[in-house]
């Protein structure tokens, strides 16, 4: 049994990884295919589809919208996340754990249900659908990620570090600038990047809450109806994929750095 597992487990793991990533790998491959039909064998290599992208005004509009929504959602969810993460890591108050659980819930709730509920509420509040409503939806989705990243950065932040700074003559603002901020900055930037990435790729919320506006995922969805537009979509998708991977990697590097710093500061107490 054991021998069998040892033999087949790596094979299983390999298949699993291929299943996960092969479709994604196909995206960049077909995005440089000379033929508009995504089919092997490739007929030739071209960058035409990429060069065509900036010439599509509807795409540029959608990209701008996504950028605006992404930045707004990232900043908002990070600001709210800082408050929550600070409260959770610094204070012990009744209901701390249930509250933490509720904040994380959007991670596992069906997104389409949340989207429909939000749509109902926003409309009954008399708000018209716009990029603003998309931002609200995205903040809801991003906050659990923000908080996870921020809590791991804030945890173990030794309060006596701020006291030590005051003790050495520094003012409250100086302490924030010279101690608090450098200690938590990596976690904050990491949270901004993660939230932005999630907002950039998010489709369901945007689809329900955008009204007549389009974001990049909505634009892509619209283009899929026309076979001739497919290579352009693939090229755009490849770019978004690359951007997401880059930002998430950078975010993780920063998050680990923040975690290491605060952990080291706390180590003396252990």
């Amino acid at each position: 049994m054991k021998a069998l597992a040892r033999k087949w487990l790596p094979a299983y793991a390999g298949l699993y990884v291929i299943f996960l990533y092969l479709p994604i790998l196909l995206l960049p491959i077909f995005s440089v295919n000379a033929s508009p039909i995504p089919q092997f064998p490739l007929t030739g290599i071209t960058t035409k589809w990429y060069r065509d992208l900036p010439k599509t005004p509807a795409l540029i509009d959608a990209a701008w919208n996504s950028l605006i929504v992404g930045v707004a959602a990232a900043v908002l969810s990070t600001v709210l996340g800082i408050c929550a993460a600070r409260a959770v890591t610094r204070y012990r108050f009744p209901g701390r754990r249930p509250i933490q659980g509720l904040i994380m819930a959007p991670l596992v709730l069906p997104e389409i249900i949340i989207a429909i509920s939000m749509l109902l509420i926003l409309l009954s509040l008399g708000l018209s659908l716009s990029l603003f409503t998309v931002v609200l939806g995205h903040v809801l989705i991003c906050i659990p990620y923000s908080i996870t990243v921020l809590v791991s950065g804030f945890e173990g932040f030794d309060r006596s570090l701020e006291e030590a700074s005051a003790d050495l003559g520094e003012t409250a603002f100086g302490t924030f600038r010279r101690v608090t901020l450098p200690m938590v900055a990596p976690a904050i930037i990491s949270s901004l990047l993660v939230s932005f990435t999630i907002s950039l790729d998010e489709f369901i919320m945007a689809f329900f809450l955008a009204g007549t506006e389009t974001t990049l995922p909505i634009y892509i969805w619209g283009q899929l109806r026309f076979a001739a537009k497919l290579p352009g979509v693939l090229a755009l998708g490849t770019l978004m994929l690359a951007a997401s991977i880059l930002m998430l990697t950078f975010a993780e590097v920063l998050r680990r750095r923040a975690e290491r710093r605060t952990a080291d500061a706390g180590a003396a107490l252990a």
Partner: protein, 362 residues
């Protein structure tokens, strides 16, 4: 310069809701003194230290440092610096930057700043480690950086919050000696908070022993150890045999009591002692009772049966049952004459100096 008051604590109390962390503390700490606040956890010693540093405010009372009342003066404008229990070394800065942290605000100029940092690092034997990252330091080195970072500010008072508690025993003992030497060298007033009685006894000029938010006794180490004002203080500072006694005579500063086992004893009346009817308590430290070997005689003796013997390497701990006494006596004896081989059940005689018998409040 000697005997000039550096810190004056006048009727300082601190309450958290209905809990009184510190109750009417009065203390006067002299310039250049190594002063310890000693007590179990929750006795208010850390609360008092934090109020001196400015991290906490007295509910009532006044703290005066070097003649200046500290009311409303925040921590960053007080002439005190602190070595934190966790050391609170800034993890994103290296050793040099940590030590220079407070100097930056003084705008001394690069050269003078560098000189002061070097000087401070030399003081704590960390010369050459300036570029080392804060996270690459051992516990003992962190402690030294914390010390250098505080001393470089040339404070009037250095506050130390259990600075040695995170170190292992050997390093702790080494640091005790070093800290004491350092304090003598720089001449700054040190206030040490500790729950370790040996640490307090070994390092301090004077000790304040605290229990439950109150200061029980303030005195030099020897006085605290040998003449504790009450049972609680006596117990906290080490082993003590308590002996029930009955008051026979009271004359000025002297009292005469009758005891079972130690007979009639004339002793000094303790400061906190109030006549509690005719009952009194005497105490004698276990090391002040010596085993009498063979035919040796002493002016003052007490005899009993050895009921337990515990070997501790350099010393042996003997438990001796004395007829008539309600509790057996604890005795610590060195091993030069074979105390570690005394048979349990043997009758032994113990010599004592009547001056070692001290009366104390309950």
């Amino acid at each position: 310069m000697p005997d000039r008051t550096m810190i004056d604590i006048r009727g300082v109390s601190r309450s958290y809701g209905s809990f009184k962390a510190l109750d009417e503390a009065n203390l006067s700490i002299r310039e250049g003194e190594f002063f310890s606040l000693l007590g179990p956890s929750g006795c208010g010693k850390t609360t008092l230290l934090r109020m001196i540093a400015g991290f906490d405010t007295p509910t009532t009372g006044k703290i005066v440092i070097d003649g200046q009342p500290m009311d409303g003066i925040p921590a960053n404008r007080r002439p005190t610096n602190m070595v934190f229990q966790s050391y609170a070394i800034f993890p994103h800065l290296n050793v040099e930057q940590n030590v220079a942290y407070g100097l930056k605000r003084l705008r001394l100029g690069a050269e003078e700043e560098k000189r002061r940092v070097e000087e401070a690092l030399a003081m704590v034997s960390l010369t050459g480690l300036g570029k080392r990252g804060a996270t690459e330091l051992s516990g003992g080195q962190r402690q030294r950086v914390a010390l250098a970072r505080a001393l470089v500010m040339r404070p009037k008072v250095l506050l130390l919050d259990e600075p040695l508690s995170a170190l292992d025993k050997k390093l702790r003992e080494q640091m005790q000696v070093e800290l004491r030497r350092l304090q003598k060298a720089v001449g700054i007033t040190f206030i040490l908070v500790t729950h370790d009685q040996y640490e307090a006894l070994a390092m301090s000029d004077r000790i304040a022993v605290m229990f439950g938010g109150r200061i029980s006794q303030v005195a030099a180490p020897k006085e605290i150890y040998q003449r504790p004002v009450n049972r609680q203080v006596a117990d906290f500072l080490g082993g003590m045999n308590f002996i029930r006694a009955e008051l026979v005579e009271e004359a000025g500063n002297t009292i005469v009591v009758d005891t079972l086992g130690f007979g009639r004893v004339r002793t000094e009346r303790p400061p906190a002692w109030e006549g509690n009817g005719r009952a009194a308590t005497l105490g004698i430290r276990p090391e002040r009772l010596r085993v009498l070997w063979d035919d040796a005689r002493a002016a003052h003796e007490v005899a009993g049966t050895l009921i337990e013997r515990h070997y501790f390497g350099e010393i042996t701990h003997l438990v001796v049952d004395v007829p008539g006494m309600e509790k057996p006596l604890s005795v610590t004896e060195t091993n030069d004459f074979g105390a570690d081989d005394l048979p349990v059940g043997a009758t032994i005689r113990l010599a004592y100096d009547p001056d070692a018998l001290v009366a104390m409040a309950d």
